[in-house]
Symmetry: C2
Subunit: 421 residues, 2 copies
């Protein structure tokens, strides 16, 4: 990566201008050190809208194109940010790297191991780095939990859980919008379609790809009746109401790590429920759970000595006490961007890493291994919940890969001393 | 079974007089229609203590023996209640049936499929019925949830979760008490050791062995470090502090049912945590979760139409509205026995079924299939989380086995009309 040049402009091309791309383009336009040189989408109306938008904000109309290869070929672009539908991220990223571009990729699962390997190999051979823009790694709660874990509050970690549990029946059921990136996946696939929002933070808790790694997984899917029932009730006249959805309503995935920890993921998007990433962290000294916003710490939570009388306490005081220093600063300076502020932070991590020539906090090995969970879980389910090996995309180097440089955006450790007090 | 003769005396022999047996013996002695003719344990002091106890309560000293075969051979005994350590239940039950006794068995997992089959075959060939005394099936919350499910509140059920999540490090770590039934299991086994407290109620929710059944399971175990760390800290001088415990701290098991539902079980006994059976029920119309004591029902929970704004509500009003009629009556008449009253109810279900000549609400097929989860989960883990087939102990009859007779203790349906209003 280039040498440290904090604050310098980074010239960016944006591919994908839909529900995710447009709001993130806005976040980028809010950053004075970002220049948007080109925008791309397969729909012309979106490209025009984005061009108008950038021109209005910056006084200069960016290039617009329907062909990402054209955008990737732009001389002045240093980094390409990919926010298209799930199945096109890798192909666009590989083309961009081959054309000498740094890559920021939105999240999504992979449909084959081959594309994960190609992503890794292309980054290694071209020397161009890739960052997976997993916003939840920069969410307030997850960063604060990371801080607690790295400070030893939970002791050695043994088990983590998480989920993408989000009632999307309304969104998936929009029968007439053929531009939707999710609907076809639910019609034709059956697996842990969207693992990274919960797995990303867990990967940081467990030092995955830095002295630990995911070794094997098994997935199981429930029957798929939720989306169909919703359509029968709410859109009985749409063609989609007759369709057979293959994606199980609840898909559970168990993962075992090299150092013996287990991870359980839940994908749950087609039944009625409140949103939850279903977090749970268990270590030698205590447990935290998202759904009751509670914690139990053996040496701190008030408790009778009898094991029948352990009681949860609210996690609120701990969330305050251990607030991650990046978030302390962020709250003080004012939150920006969507999803509670994390969308802004993940893009800043991307941009400032580029400016300072530092390794990305979520690198190509993280991206490949997290994305691979999707296709591997599909394979496991297709074979009746057979265990499936998770490749080591570092080819053995995970054993002794060092932590990244000290940085405010680091996720493998928390460096209090890099923040102004 | 014998003909209806409500209120008549049932003459019982009790085998196993430890931490479970003694308190349950007390509950039995509180019932005027129960006679205790004999007691048995492998420890003489326990037998004497129980004999004294019965004599004091009833004025008549029961037979005492160290040999269950002697107890099972007692002419006057109609039913044997087995409350020994996990690994001896089946052998004692089989001997009892062969001697013409009805059997009530405390819960615990099986160590082999063979013993499950033998239990079933012996019951079938001798004609003697077996009831698994799973108290949690008669717990207030579980019965009330059963009532909600059978009244359609959650719609068609898709996914259930449960767990035996109980910090037992103190109990397992009692190095000098060689009479402990759990310690050796944690030293030498690795699996879902204790599935029935959560699986029993779920089996009722999902009509298992009555039109549905468990078809396959996969288990995964985390590393086993919790018990050792606890001993190193609290009993560093005990021999046990040097022992290697094989039981993973967190063991997760996924089960798929014939009708497409999934079940996830968690065994979690050697890390610090509050007690929880980790219940979760998901259907087409809503979700319930134990840890936040919350519910979301699509058509009832106040909610914005946007899927981002679904909010949990407390389950308390629903627990009141749908309180199971058996519990309504029980609360009115006064709770008795341990564990919040369920210990009493499960014994009443056993005794009244015998008096009235009705099928047991938890029969030998339920017992065998629930207990089998333990050895199957061990096999799955031993083979690297391979999927394992769960036998159909009904040999195909589960498809069209009918619901049991209307009864106040029924668990496959809820009969409001058998209760006085």
């Amino acid at each position: 990566m280039r040498r440290d040049d904090s604050g310098r402009n980074v010239c960016i091309g944006v591919v994908g201008l839909g529900f995710r791309g447009l709001p993130q383009l806005d976040v980028l336009l809010g950053m004075p050190d970002v220049e948007i040189a080109a925008v791309c989408d397969i729909y012309e109306d979106r490209v025009k809208m984005a061009q108008d938008h950038v021109e209005k904000a910056r006084g200069k109309r960016p290039m617009g194109t329907l062909d990402y290869r054209e955008l990737n070929a732009c001389r002045e672009i240093e980094a390409v940010v990919i926010m298209t539908g799930w199945t096109s991220h890798t192909a666009i990223a590989i083309d961009a790297m081959r054309k000498g571009k740094i890559v920021g990729m939105e999240v999504g699962g992979s449909a084959s191991l081959e594309e994960c390997w190609e992503l890794v190999r292309t980054s290694e051979t071209t020397g161009m780095p890739v960052m997976l823009l997993e916003n939840c790694c920069y969410n307030r709660e997850e960063m604060t939990l990371l801080n607690m874990i790295k400070k030893g509050v939970f002791g050695e970690i043994v088990h983590c859980q998480g989920g993408y549990q989000h009632d999307l029946r309304d969104e998936i059921g929009e029968g007439d919008k053929n531009r939707h990136y999710r609907q076809n996946q639910f019609l034709h696939r059956n697996g842990e379609l969207y693992p990274t929002h919960e797995l990303g933070p867990i990967a940081m808790y467990l030092n995955l790809n830095r002295g630990n790694r995911m070794v094997t997984l098994v997935s199981m899917a429930s029957k798929a009746i939720g989306q169909h029932a919703w359509l029968q009730r709410h859109r009985p006249d749409s063609d989609l109401a007759q369709a057979v959805f293959r994606q199980g309503d609840v898909v559970t995935t168990m993962i075992r790590c090299a150092n013996g920890e287990t991870i359980v993921l839940t994908h749950d998007c087609t039944l009625p429920r409140p949103y939850s990433r279903g977090g749970r962290i268990q270590g030698l000294k205590g447990i935290w759970q998202e759904d009751n916003r509670s914690i139990y710490l053996e040496d701190r939570t008030p408790s009778d000595p009898s094991y029948w009388t352990h009681r949860w306490e609210s996690d609120a005081p701990y969330m305050e006490e251990y607030l991650h220093p990046l978030w302390k600063e962020y709250v003080r300076d004012g939150l920006r961007g969507g999803h509670g502020g994390m969308d802004y932070l993940v893009l800043r991590a991307f941009l400032e890493s580029i400016q300072q020539g530092k390794e990305f906090p979520i690198d190509v090995y993280d991206a490949a291994s997290w994305m691979a969970i999707t296709c591997l879980s599909e394979q496991s389910i297709a074979m009746g919940s057979m265990p499936v090996a998770i490749p080591d995309f570092t080819c053995g180097r995970f054993c002794c890969r060092k932590k990244r440089e000290k940085d405010r955006y680091s996720l493998d450790d928390v460096y209090d001393d890099v923040f102004a007090q």
